[in-house]
Symmetry: D2
């Protein structure tokens, strides 16, 4: 079944009964939230799962955009915790919002960046007692290749060499296999962004290899490709009726090639959901980046 388009490590493993060798996985249920930690340790396992070695934290909660305010607070804390654990102890951080702000389902990165506490330029103007308590944060949502003529990876490389952050956090809208995961799962990984992933299909990746510093990827599924839905329906039917695999393969290919190629499946309310998830992620990131500031002080910095 692998080969369906998904950006979630959890779904690559998903259907399998037993984990491939070289993969660790543990789960914790915390109220309404399921926290899953997957570690891909060996290059062999990375090959089997078609995903780089590294740690993947997944937070699942049906309806990130309309969960109880108790679960929302918990999610913010879990995001902050996971990101902070992956960040270097010291040094500036550059946050990059990927995707196209003019495409609702691809605008998550931009929306998160708009809500971040940016501090890199404040050091010199801060009151004495604040100096050293703020981590230097810069943030940019550079826009997609079709709008800028510049590969996001190229542009980030230029920025990194100039801004010299200790780490990059890249935020992106993801594609999932299972439409129940849309706006219901947050994935935080220390592997960076792989080429070809995301709703916008970045051609180049953003990784420690391309940027020279650690890249933490934070993403939430916003779409399922329509061809995936069709293929899934066919596969279910085929399984039920014991069709010979070759026949299924022919149909699957037919579906994938057709006009469904660039069609995406989203909840009808995706516009509102993106904003709500962006609020949640940015709160988690602001706490991860500025652990010395309490919520009130953060609020004053952002809105005051």
């Amino acid at each position: 079944m692998r080969g369906f388009r998904t950006d979630l490590a959890m779904e690559s493993i998903g259907g399998e009964r037993s984990l491939p060798e070289g993969v660790l996985m543990d789960e914790q249920q915390l109220g309404e939230i399921l926290r899953t930690r997957i570690v891909i340790e060996s290059p062999e396992a990375a090959g089997v799962l078609a995903r780089p070695c590294g740690e993947y934290i997944t937070l699942s909660c049906r309806g990130l955009s309309h969960c109880s305010s108790r679960s929302r607070k918990q999610l913010i804390q879990l995001v902050a915790q996971a990101v902070r654990a992956m960040l270097p102890r010291q040094g500036d951080v550059l946050v990059v919002g990927l995707g196209n702000r003019n495409v609702t389902a691809d605008a998550l990165g931009t929306r998160v960046v708009e809500r971040l506490l940016v501090t890199r330029h404040l050091e010199s103007v801060l009151a004495e007692e604040m100096r050293g308590r703020l981590r230097g944060v810069s943030a940019i949502a550079p826009g997609v290749l079709g709008l800028t003529g510049i590969e996001t990876a190229e542009l980030c490389r230029g920025l990194v060499s100039h801004v010299k952050p200790a780490a990059v956090i890249a935020i992106d809208a993801l594609a999932a296999f299972d439409s129940a995961r849309i706006c219901s799962t947050i994935q935080i990984a220390d592997t960076g962004i792989e080429p070809g992933s995301g709703v916008g299909n970045h051609r180049l990746g953003l990784t420690v290899d391309t940027l020279g510093v650690k890249v933490i990827a934070v993403g939430v599924p916003m779409v399922v490709y329509a061809s995936t839905i069709a293929r899934d329906a066919i596969a279910q039917l085929a399984e039920g009726y014991g069709q010979p695999p070759e026949a299924i393969q022919v149909l699957l290919e037919k579906v994938s090639e057709g006009y469904l190629g660039e069609m995406v499946v989203t909840p009808r309310e995706i516009d509102e959901m993106v904003l709500s998830v962006a609020d949640l992620l940015s709160e988690g990131l602001n706490r991860a980046l500025q652990p010395e500031l309490d919520a009130e002080t953060l609020h004053t910095f952002l809105h005051g």
Copy 2:
């Protein structure tokens, strides 16, 4: 195949080899555009097609939002022509933009209304030579029930009794069965808006029966329901393999009930497409409503 969700008369008929009795249909290929005219004449035919008696003009052209500028001009003329033929010769017109402006795929009605030449309030301030050459046009995009607490049909009834137009034009985003029709088909009908149609699922309809004046409905498919895609894939597979109908039925119901219910399929670029289609429709409507104004004068009124 009927039962799949579609707002296009053309698709209700679609798969059938022979037309039901009481239905007329003729087609004209005009350059890249296919113009189809369907007339449902008898109540029996209306029952079979689950659609009210009346005239349905459909203009199809792959890619309304990015066709050649020649085809674009032709489409604008064909829209103007079809709407003008359905409008009463004289009297004010109220244009109602249906749908939710905050939901990209449901915002077409609002976006068209924003681009209309509104004239009802100008009569007294017009230069002598313009008087009598402008039709009185008012326009409103009242918003959906969930945002206003007022049924759109109720609200329109109040407006109509006050503004006393000779006809209403209602603009709406539609759902189609075939995703190739998204942003590729314009439907213009003299039947008004049926209850339960549109992306936003209006509970009440807007028709001559509810409003007391003729209602011309103008719509463009913006989504396919995800359950339709899945059902279509299943149906195709089943047909190919000669599955017993009962088994298929079970599967179809399973798919329809599931989480896919409120999921919609759209092109990834739907945000941009809606604006482009709104430009096209509003140009056609402005010409239909103000046949005495040339393009230049219309432009000056709108932007000058």
Copy 3:
């Protein structure tokens, strides 16, 4: 000094040393907030101040959009209290957002309406225990005359006769005399909206006389007319130098007639400020309208 354009009752009185007869005024300092209550009792006083009889509550706090979160909570309570005291004990309420959503400084009404808990359509679907605890609220932002061809007052009259609310709350962006009041003052009045007031210059008013039910007006200054700034500068200079009044008058008229007529003065950050003030007002109104719901339940209704 009277004659300068202002929609604030407080500013009509402003410069005077002694109150005109028939006007009551008291002030309370509550932390950072100054609460002023003005009552215009007699038609004579109304004539002198060019403002209808009634009660005007003004809440002033430098920087509504970036005050401390403590002051923000207090402001929300004071808004809720003032509005609740003016509302009839029972019956539905229709909230009307005035102004043009496409003009940043005039969009306050629309932005507040977007954030309201609308309930009129929920009665039949509510759980048993909620029935009777929710006041029926409907809300609309109909758009300005130039966009709809329909006077807002006409449109509201139609709606009121249909929806039959016990009261109307009208939200509007105001013009002030003193630019320090922009986004720093909330005015709540039981007098309705006067003709010619607001940033958008409504031609007709919204009052108990035109609508047949009580109209509570809630507004915040968003602009000062540029001609006011110029006139103020001239007046100050003239006062300082003891110029003869006739000469000043000539200059004042020259300034008022010129190109400055339609120019407005706003803070550069007006876009962000409008959204922040809309958040604040809508929270206050939601509490005034639904006193039986606690903050958590309100949040769930709005976002859940």
Copy 4:
């Protein structure tokens, strides 16, 4: 009178009866459009006018956003002509949209960049016959220091060293002295952007010195600072009454220091005007950058 805040070279010269030495100026009336060419030749003249040496083309036409369609076409041609004459004959061009997209009056740069034909990434995918006919264009609207933590000039330096364009075009919203110039004047200069100019007050400049390549600056006044209006009114009054200069100076300083500091004066319809001017500028720039493409082909590239 100098010292009032303006970003227009024409206004620095404005009031003077005779030109300073080292300044050339000629004017052409072309229909409704006045085309002024100012050349500041000597460092002494640059000092007197507080503006760098170079060529400044100014196109003035009352109401850029609502002029006749004939004047609009002419303006587009004149923009294209002026920019093309300043561009190097060959080599890629990087267009930078300055300003804050969330502040209406400061969003011009962003809005122009959104409408540009970006081609740098297309070279490899173009049909044989198009190769060599398209100039490589990249474009970015990086956002302001407060939102990114990175100086725009820093960011551009990084980009330029990476993208290696032959020239940069920087688009910015300007401040004027005379409010009649808002949305009525286009300034095109080969001097780059000076530190402290623009609505957003960039701290660093974008010039050949900071970026290493020629920088063409294109701007349109969108605001007048409110303190300028007040100072102007005072100055006019003072002139009329022959006040002693010291007294005026005191008053002028008082006005400049006060709360008016960050207030801006704009037409009430600034939101719509910005979009209209962005359309006009981007058409002019697209023609300047791609002289081999006719209007139809440009349209197809942009929207097809």
